[in-house]
């Protein structure tokens, strides 16, 4: 190609070359040349106009999580780019591959506090995997190539490209045969075989082995390898919030979620295990509780694609840097079969004793609709009907989503784990719905989080996105904060009671069907009606107001100290559980 193109046209061509089909964004002054060029590429590049850049960023995030491709969001300079910041930080914490393209004021104006000028590369430096400020049109092909490469390889993450307006307007003959200039970036590094051998030796000796899987398993597509490994070795599997779907929950070796709102038997298993095999989870503090007391009896093996995660939070005996799938495949070649049924049975007995969902089954006599009614019914129906994706917002309902829905498949559960971004649900669900048009996408949101980004309902309408259904778990509080206030701050409900609009009527104003449910008996029909309605739908589940998420490890406490329920009024000392550990018959021998 020897034709001259504008910078903006080069941007479009570069995006097409990277396989981009959909972009989420909002135009503005400094990104207008790009939108001008985009007009000619409408057939190849679908642009979805969002109502707020945060929505565009989360939508790109959801699109990436569901499709496995790189999500793209666009904003103008100044407020357009600062509005993207929360979504970028969210993608960074959860390692989602997105590329954010922002306009910047013309090179002659940079540094002069020009209208809508913001140093967005400076602002996003600590929350992007990498970022670029492009001031020379000749750089564009290389920068786009590098940005997509960096975003989608190694530990994936967000990359921002900030492009001066005059760069978009000027023209040149693009040179597409550019080489990447990344001498310091080696995402393809291979692990040491010695470490693999040491890990196998440790797991072979283990009397109480435990596997914990996280986002890395899903990102590397290692779910099949996890199943093979677990079955081969007989090791029980714990799934973190982001590991959900990485191992089917109806599997005899599946234990469920650990951590602050994990099940008692899972946290107890962690505290008792003698070898903890972590594949692709980063020992987040919501998983570990008080770090110094985490898994006190365990030798720890940590597989992570990011070397800096190994030993960051938790002391590690064997660190293996590599792709989860490749490491597991390698280990499977040499891993001897094990019989650990005694250990698994012991955990199951604990599970039996501490009935995980017992707290939710206790029903106040006057309650007409409990969150439990909604989640168990939804779980049953979506699993019966199949082809579902569920996006949770952040708060109590997010934990109920993780705890009370039965998860079986990878990339069906999406949650803002690291940043905990309220308002994540609806726009992310929109991105998921665009990526997976044949699946039904359920957005589960609280009444607080939903009000943070509900403007995207209009984007859904404008774009004719039909496969999205919103379930609002409406309790009239910022529920998770209220729960902490109830348990630890003597019920001082400061800033947590929350009023809401009439959500069904709000939905109707957007041209979306809305429905309110306040009786347990009406839940099933409401959910089924969402399936029968060919279009988006908002269901307002008006649930019992003061229901808590249990079990719970108070912040900063050991995961061995769990509150399993707090009858009303709250006793001075919440009930915690104690267990006598299973004796290890022979002392553990560690090789290597």
């Amino acid at each position: 190609m020897s034709e001259k193109l504008t910078g903006a046209q080069i941007m479009c061509e570069a995006l097409i070359r990277e396989g981009v089909e959909v972009m989420f964004g909002i135009p503005g002054g400094t990104i207008m040349p790009f939108y001008y060029a985009m007009y000619d590429y409408q057939d190849q590049l679908r642009h979805i106009l969002c109502r707020h850049e945060q929505g565009a960023g989360h939508a790109a995030d959801g699109y990436a999580r569901a499709s496995g491709k790189v999500g793209v969001c666009i904003g103008t300079s100044g407020p357009g780019s600062t509005n993207l910041v929360t979504a970028i930080a969210n993608a960074y914490m959860d390692s989602t591959p997105i590329v954010a393209v922002t306009g910047q004021v013309a090179t002659s104006l940079i540094g002069r506090d020009a209208f809508q000028e913001t140093d967005v590369t400076g602002i996003t430096m600590p929350i992007t995997k990498h970022n670029y400020l492009v001031k020379d049109i000749e750089e564009l092909p290389r920068v786009f190539k590098e940005a997509f490469y960096i975003a989608s390889t190694g530990r994936t993450g967000p990359v921002l490209i900030d492009i001066a307006k005059d760069v978009q307007q000027s023209s040149t003959v693009p040179n597409w045969n550019v080489e990447l200039n990344l001498p310091g970036y080696h995402p393809d590094r291979t692990f040491d075989h010695e470490e693999i051998r040491d890990a196998i030796a440790l797991l072979t000796e283990a009397k109480k082995p435990l596997m914990i899987i996280g986002n890395g398993v899903l990102m590397s597509g290692a779910t099949e390898e996890v199943r093979q490994f677990a079955e081969h070795m007989g090791v029980p599997v714990v799934t973190t919030l982001h590991g959900i779907g990485g191992f089917p929950e109806d599997h005899p070796l599946s234990l469920g979620m650990p951590g602050m709102h994990g099940w008692v038997h899972v946290n107890r298993a962690i505290q008792e295990c003698d070898v903890l095999f972590n594949v692709g989870s980063r020992f987040d503090d919501r998983v570990t509780g008080k770090m110094s007391t985490f898994a006190p009896n365990a030798r720890i093996i940590h597989v992570d694609i990011d070397e800096s995660e190994i030993g960051k939070n938790i002391r590690t005996d064997i660190g293996i840097v590599g792709d989860a799938r490749a490491v597991l495949q390698e280990m499977l070649k040499e891993m001897p079969q094990r019989d650990t049924h005694e250990w698994v049975e012991y955990i199951r007995q604990m599970q039996e004793k501490h009935q995980p969902k017992q707290h939710y089954m206790q029903r106040p006599p006057e309650a007409s609709l409990m969150p439990y009614d909604v989640f168990t019914t939804l779980s049953r129906i979506i699993n019966e009907r199949g082809n579902y994706r569920v996006v949770a917002d952040v708060g109590q309902h997010q934990m109920w989503t993780a705890q009370l829905i039965d998860w079986h498949k990878p990339r069906t559960h999406f949650s803002s784990g690291g940043l905990g971004t309220m308002g994540f649900g609806l726009p992310t669900g929109m991105g998921v719905a665009v990526a997976k048009p044949n699946d039904t996408v359920w957005v589960i949101a609280g009444d607080g989080g939903f009000q943070m980004t509900n403007q995207e309902l209009q984007t859904i309408v404008q774009e004719g996105i039909k496969n999205i259904k919103v379930a609002i778990i409406n309790n009239g509080y910022l529920g998770m904060v209220r729960q902490w206030q109830e348990l630890f701050e003597n019920k001082r409900y400061s800033g947590t009671p929350l009023s809401c609009p009439d959500f069904p009527r709000l939905a109707e104003a957007y041209g979306i069907r809305g429905l309110a449910v306040d009786q347990a008996s009406a839940v099933e029909d409401a959910i089924n009606s969402a399936y029968e309605h060919d279009g988006p739908m908002v269901i307002d589940f008006r649930v019992e107001r003061e229901v808590n998420v249990f079990p719970m490890v108070p912040q900063g406490k050991s995961i061995g100290e769990m509150i399993v329920g707090a009858p009303n009024p709250v006793p001075e000392v919440p009930r915690t559980v104690e267990e006598t550990p299973m004796p290890i018959e022979t002392p553990l021998v560690v090789k290597g």
Binding site: T121, G122, M125, K129, L133, L182, G184, E307, S308, G311
Partner: protein
């Protein structure tokens, strides 16, 4: 608290120093000294950072994670040549000038500027020696002082970066194959 000397090779690009330095701040490390300059490899700069911390493994890993950082080494436990330069403006009247010049000779320092009431002295040496020299000059009255921060190099044939060959492309870029 222990002092660690870290050497990082980085692509010479706008913003790279900002990235590296803000990482120390964000992860809660205190920088005692910092020196940056060109190297034998075109488009690669070298940063020597002295950090006050008992443990630097995490910050080394985080630095290495930066896309533009090509190589990071903690040379604290290596045998290294450490050098620092200082410029001192000392009060030097007729009465003490000779004494100052004599002390400079002992320390291998150079007098680089002389005026009616002051002298500028340039001194290079190990950080301890520089420290020592400053102490000796203090009684004369130090009116102005600037220290460059430490630069360090591993002794012997071994380099602080493990790979010895680099190929530089026609456009002046370091090949992606090099420096692995």
């Amino acid at each position: 608290m222990k002092r660690h000397t870290i050497i990082a090779l980085m692509q010479d690009q706008p913003g790279v120093l900002n990235r590296a330095v803000s990482l120390f701040r964000r992860r809660g490390y205190n920088i005692a000294s910092l020196a940056v300059g060109h190297t034998e490899i075109p488009n690669i700069s070298r940063m020597t950072v002295v950090v006050e911390s008992d443990e630097v493994e995490q910050v080394v890993k985080q630095l290495d994670r930066l896309i533009e950082v090509v190589n990071v080494t903690d040379v604290t436990y290596e045998s290294t040549v450490d050098r620092e330069m200082t410029l001192l403006k000392v009060g030097a009247l007729n009465g003490n000038r000779a004494e100052i010049v004599a002390l400079c000779e002992v320390f291998n320092a150079k007098v680089v500027d002389v005026s009616q009431e002051s002298m500028i002295i340039e001194m290079t040496g190990s950080p301890a020696k520089v420290e020592n020299f400053i102490e000796v000059m203090e009684p004369f009255g130090i009116n102005e002082m600037m220290r460059t921060g430490i630069i360090a190099m591993v002794r012997g044939a071994k380099t602080s970066h493990t790979h010895k060959t680099y190929s530089v492309e026609g456009n002046g870029r370091v090949s992606t194959e090099a420096l692995k």
